[in-house]
């Protein structure tokens, strides 16, 4: 496992990009009442054939050349198991791949969510062919950002322009913070969210 869930999300989303996906949908769902934190990474990539799906959680399995181990999914599974959550991967040739990781919200061993803006911007900076929709749901309140819309608003300025990425990062940070940290007991909730 890793220090932040955001690192796991980055790893799983990189799988999608490496598989050739052109659209990613990342959702983080926090429900403090029912005590669940879930993230979903969905892509429109080629999907996994059965023989890959069977072995995807084996740390010594990878389809990537020049590597002996494939740790993205096995480490996520380990993180999930560590706090009694669960991991679901649905994938089939031609159908894309969706990874759902569900954690108990209140668990000492659950990594904190971590730096989501950095993960999102890191993904966009690394691959100009990819469009990404990021959704954050906090106790039913939704924030959503889609790079398809942002590209339209940019009227031809590349999304990967450093100033644009910087703006995006700040915008995401503020929006997520407002969504999750707003209200009177904001500080308290923020502290608990951090793990």
């Amino acid at each position: 496992m890793m220090e932040e869930l955001a690192h796991h999300i980055l790893d799983i989303a990189r799988n999608s990009v490496e598989a050739g996906a052109t659209r990613l949908e990342i959702t983080v769902e926090e429900d403090t009442q029912s005590g669940v934190l879930r993230f979903v990474v969905g892509d429109n990539g080629p999907g996994m054939p059965e023989h890959v799906r069977r072995r995807m959680l084996d740390p010594f399995f990878t389809t990537k050349s020049g590597k002996k181990v494939g740790l993205g999914l096995p480490l996520l599974q380990m993180a999930v198991q560590r706090c009694g959550g669960h991991l679901e991967v649905s994938s089939a040739p031609g159908q894309g791949t969706t990874v759902v990781a569900t954690f108990p919200y209140y668990c000492w061993d659950r990594p904190p969510l971590g730096d989501i803006p950095r993960t999102v911007v890191g993904l966009l900076a690394g691959s100009d062919q990819v469009d990404l929709c990021y959704r954050h749901v906090y106790n039913g309140q939704v924030f959503e950002l889609d790079t398809v819309e942002i590209r339209l608003r940019l009227r031809g300025i590349p999304l990967q322009t450093p100033e644009v990425l910087l703006w995006l990062r700040q915008h995401l940070a503020e929006s997520i913070n407002n969504l999750c940290g707003g209200g009177e007991d904001g500080q308290d909730r923020l502290a608990r969210r951090a793990g």
């Binding site: 496992m1 740390p59 181990v69 740790l71």
Partner: protein, 122 residues
């Protein structure tokens, strides 16, 4: 050269690998339970002290070039981990000591051999 016998005795190690597995030289040590941290900071030849016993430990150890894994706190590595370690020729031990105690005892041995940076051997 570090004497494996001395490490085994001092850390109260029980091996879970085949008796005839050759033990590689120990050049240092790392203590950590977070896989990404070990991937980033442990070095080839390190002995790895951890509470983790998931089979991912074997993959991480192999990738880093760990000389041996010490699972602490009386935890016994499960069958699939032991089988994978055997396949990868990775020495794997367990000890009743906790991370702190195991690392402390190993530190003394490594320092004596001049393998702790900044600490004179003697």
């Amino acid at each position: 050269m570090i004497d494996w016998q001395e490490i085994v005795a001092a850390l109260e190690l029980t091996p879970h690998h085949p008796k005839d597995l050759p033990l590689p030289p120990v050049r240092g040590a790392y203590c950590g339970d977070m896989m990404s941290d070990v991937l980033a900071h442990a070095r080839r030849g390190d002995l790895w002290i951890t509470i983790q016993r998931h089979r991912n430990v074997v993959a991480v150890a192999t990738l880093v070039g760990i000389s041996g894994v010490v699972v602490t706190g009386g935890r016994v590595p499960p069958e699939d981990t032991v089988a994978l370690a055997e396949k990868e020729k990775l020495p794997i031990f367990s000890t009743p000591l906790d991370n702190f105690q195991a690392a402390g005892r190993l530190y003394r041995i490594l320092a004596k051999a001049g393998l702790v940076p900044g600490i004179q051997g003697g």
